[in-house]
């Protein structure tokens, strides 16, 4: 069934994606949720490189450039996300996701 | 300018680094066990007993067990026991000698008071500082045999002071000999004219008692 290495990469990235998704959904600690999202982002990047490497097109480096940009954006997102987590922690002393419901500033 | 202080600092360390190779004034450390610095003459450490002759230290000890130093020692670290019999000392006079002479070097504070009060120059300050011992108590209690060192050693560590002490002792010995000679002469004269009046030889014999050195 897994004939070409491209399919191997696709299987690998979708597995990684689902681990990230399951992790993000199951854990109540917001830092782990953020890390789950980070994992899903990595899985997406993986697909880009897989298609660039094993894909049909000769070699436009758009896939590689796309991944560079997405790594940069993911870093910015991680920074802002964790800043939010710290702000939430300062508000309610613990970072359990279920208890972050108060919208008052 | 920002970097100028830094560069001056680097220049100083460079000068020190280069200087330490050729400038003896800079490299002052002496590599101790192999090379030793010459100790200043007045350096003193623990006391030692002076004996006249090296081959028979116990026989020719100058110390006459007068126990002045034992009384004078501030930390009371000297312990002397007088001998029962007498033996001739350096000037030939029959003197008591110390049967037991102990100095507790762990208590002694090198104050040299015993040397100053000793009328017979029997105890002097040594210059030995490598006295580490394995054992804490008995090894630091120095007895007569360990303390006695020949006069020649005293000359080697303190030439000027030893010479001055020897000069004084020799002068003293000469005075004592003349007295002895004069006393012997007077006695001989007394026996030669037994009929001579009784009172004349008595004062002669009393006067030549050796005075204590200052």
């Amino acid at each position: 069934m897994i004939s070409s290495p491209l399919q191997l990469c696709l299987v690998f990235s979708s597995l990684l994606f689902c681990i990230g998704l399951a992790g993000a959904l199951s854990r109540s600690n917001s830092i782990l949720v953020l890390l789950g999202i980070e994992l899903m982002l990595n899985a997406a990047n993986l697909n880009f490189i897989a298609f660039w490497r094993f894909g049909p097109a000769p070699s436009p480096a758009t896939g590689v450039i796309f991944v560079t940009f997405s790594v940069a954006v993911a870093a910015a997102e991680a920074a802002v996300g964790l800043a939010l987590v710290i702000a939430v922690y300062r508000r309610q002393r613990n970072i359990r996701l279920q208890e972050a419901v108060r919208l008052k500033g | 300018m920002l970097g100028s202080g830094l560069l001056q600092g680097l220049a100083v360390t460079a000068k020190n680094f280069v200087g330490s190779f050729h400038d003896p004034k800079r490299l002052t450390t002496v590599e101790y066990p192999e090379k030793r610095t010459v100790l200043p003459e007045a350096y003193r450490n623990f006391p030692f007993l002076v004996s006249e002759k090296a081959e028979d230290p116990m026989g020719t000890l100058r110390c006459v067990a007068c126990q002045i130093c034992e009384k004078e020692c501030p930390p009371q670290c000297i312990y002397i026991e007088k001998s029962k019999d007498k033996k001739p000392d350096a000037t030939g006079k029959m003197q008591i000698y110390p049967a037991v002479f102990l100095i507790d070097s762990s208590v002694c504070m090198n104050c040299q008071i015993c040397v100053e009060v000793c009328p017979f120059d029997a105890i002097k300050m040594d210059q030995v500082f490598e006295i580490a011992t394995q054992e804490r108590f008995h090894a630091l209690l120095l007895d007569r045999e360990q303390l006695a060192k020949p006069n020649s050693y005293f000359h080697s560590i303190r030439p000027s002071e030893a010479a001055e002490v020897d000069g004084r002792l020799a002068a003293e010995r000469k005075v004592a000999e003349e007295k002895a000679k004069a006393a012997a002469l007077a006695k001989a004269a007394a026996q030669a004219k037994p009929v001579a009046p009784k009172t004349e030889p008595a004062p002669g014999a009393a006067s030549p008692k050796p005075q204590n050195p200052a």
Binding site: - | L2, G3, L6, G9, L10, T13, F17, S20, R26
Partner: protein, 401 residues
């Protein structure tokens, strides 16, 4: 490894000949494997010995600077001191605190040493002596360098000791705030030589101007500024002398290394020296013309000898600086990085842009180009230098003559 051209001297081709002697008969996949294995073993051996010698040279130079002979008890002139230190360190008991996180406690030195040694893979030691010729070699070098921060954090956290965690935070603050000027300072070199691969950068510095002046990057205004910023940041990155706050003995005992003893401490100690050597090796490659000889007439000396000579001068420079400067406080240290080094490195980017744009100028314009470049480098240095120490009155020093 590039094939060695026949016109090189025998000494020049010697390392490659020796290696081919051993691996030439192996079939292809195993031959590549054997070659890289030999490269690894040679790197570890050479830099292991250099580490041992460096500890001795450091203590000797520090001693001589303070007018004392330095270690001379073990062996003639103290030459066996590294062995003595090694035996002492390895025979010491390895104490791990009871509540420590044993896995992390063990992993921290391993990761630190692994990532530091991995950085040696891309430095060109000689004309044909490049262990791995990567296309993005310089980026690889600093990417691997970035993982050392992880190891510092793990060491601080896993020793279950308030003070070592605090010290790890201070060390991380220093490492992160000096990683930026470190990365920014070599961007001009890449802009001018147009490639990220270390062999390409060294090749770009191979020309001779007027027949005898080598065109190393350090002899250009932007190159000199970049070299200065790189060396200061390298000092901070490898926790050396004026920036050795993380393991300052007088303050936090041994910082994040307090709970380490015996073999693990030797790993940290070795990783610091390997980091210092790797960073100065990269400085030689980027700014001092890698393995090129300073004069064309000295070309007959093999290239790896030149690389070694430059490396050792830089290392002795590290030790010299350690012997001279007092330690910086944490606030001075970060203020110096953010308020002085980062702006200086950014302005240096501008200078290099001007330098590459004015590439075509010839004749009198060449002087104008140099003058403008020098002004662009010196003026910000003086202005920011004055602003940096504006609050402090000029101190008067009386130096020991």
């Amino acid at each position: 490894m590039m094939p060695s051209t026949p016109q090189d001297s025998l000494l020049e081709r010697a390392p490659q000949l020796l290696r081919d002697l051993v691996t030439s008969h192996l079939p292809e996949p195993w031959r590549w494997f054997a070659n890289s294995l030999i490269a690894m073993i040679v790197i570890l051996a050479v830099f292991g010995l250099l580490f041992a010698a460096l500890t001795l040279v450091e203590r000797k130079v520090l001693g001589r600077v303070q007018n004392r002979p330095g270690p001379n008890r073990t062996g003639p002139f103290g030459l066996l001191q590294p062995i003595a230190d090694g035996i002492k360190m390895l025979s010491k008991e390895d104490i791990v605190p009871r509540d420590a996180d044993h896995i992390l406690h063990f992993l921290a030195p391993v990761i630190l040493l692994a990532s530091t040694v991995m950085a040696f893979a891309v430095i060109p030691y000689g004309r044909h002596l490049v262990p791995v010729d990567l296309d993005a070699a310089v980026l690889y070098f600093f990417a691997v360098g970035a993982t050392t921060e992880l190891a510092v954090f793990m060491a601080g956290w896993s020793s279950h000791n308030k003070y070592s965690l605090l010290a790890a935070m201070r060390a991380l603050a220093q490492l992160i705030s000096y990683e930026l000027p470190l990365l920014l300072s070599w961007v001009p070199v890449v802009m001018i030589s147009g490639t990220l691969s270390t062999t390409g950068i060294v090749a770009a510095q191979s020309a001779w101007k007027w027949g005898w002046v080598p065109t190393w990057n350090v002899f250009t205004p932007w190159g000199f500024a970049g070299f200065a910023v790189f060396m200061v940041a390298a000092l901070a990155e490898s926790n050396r002398s004026p920036f050795d706050l993380p393991e300052a003995e007088s303050e936090l005992i041994a910082g994040h290394l307090t709970e380490y003893s015996g073999c693990k401490y030797v790993f940290f100690f070795m990783a610091e020296y390997f980091g210092m050597t790797a960073l100065s090796g990269m400085a030689v490659t980027l700014f001092l013309g890698g393995w090129h000889a300073p004069l064309p007439s000295l070309e007959f000396i093999p290239s790896y000898a030149w690389f070694g000579a430059k490396l050792i001068t830089l290392l002795v420079g590290f030790i010299w600086i350690r012997a001279t400067f007092p330690r910086l406080r944490i606030d001075q240290l970060t203020r110096f990085a953010w308020k002085f080094l980062v702006p200086l490195a950014l302005i240096n980017l501008g200078t290099t842009a001007f330098w590459s744009l004015s590439f075509g100028w010839t004749g009198p314009l060449q002087l104008v180009r140099w003058a403008v470049a020098i002004v662009l480098v010196v003026v910000p240095f003086i202005v920011m230098g004055r602003r940096l120490s504006s609050g402090v009155a000029p101190r008067t020093y009386s130096y020991a003559t």
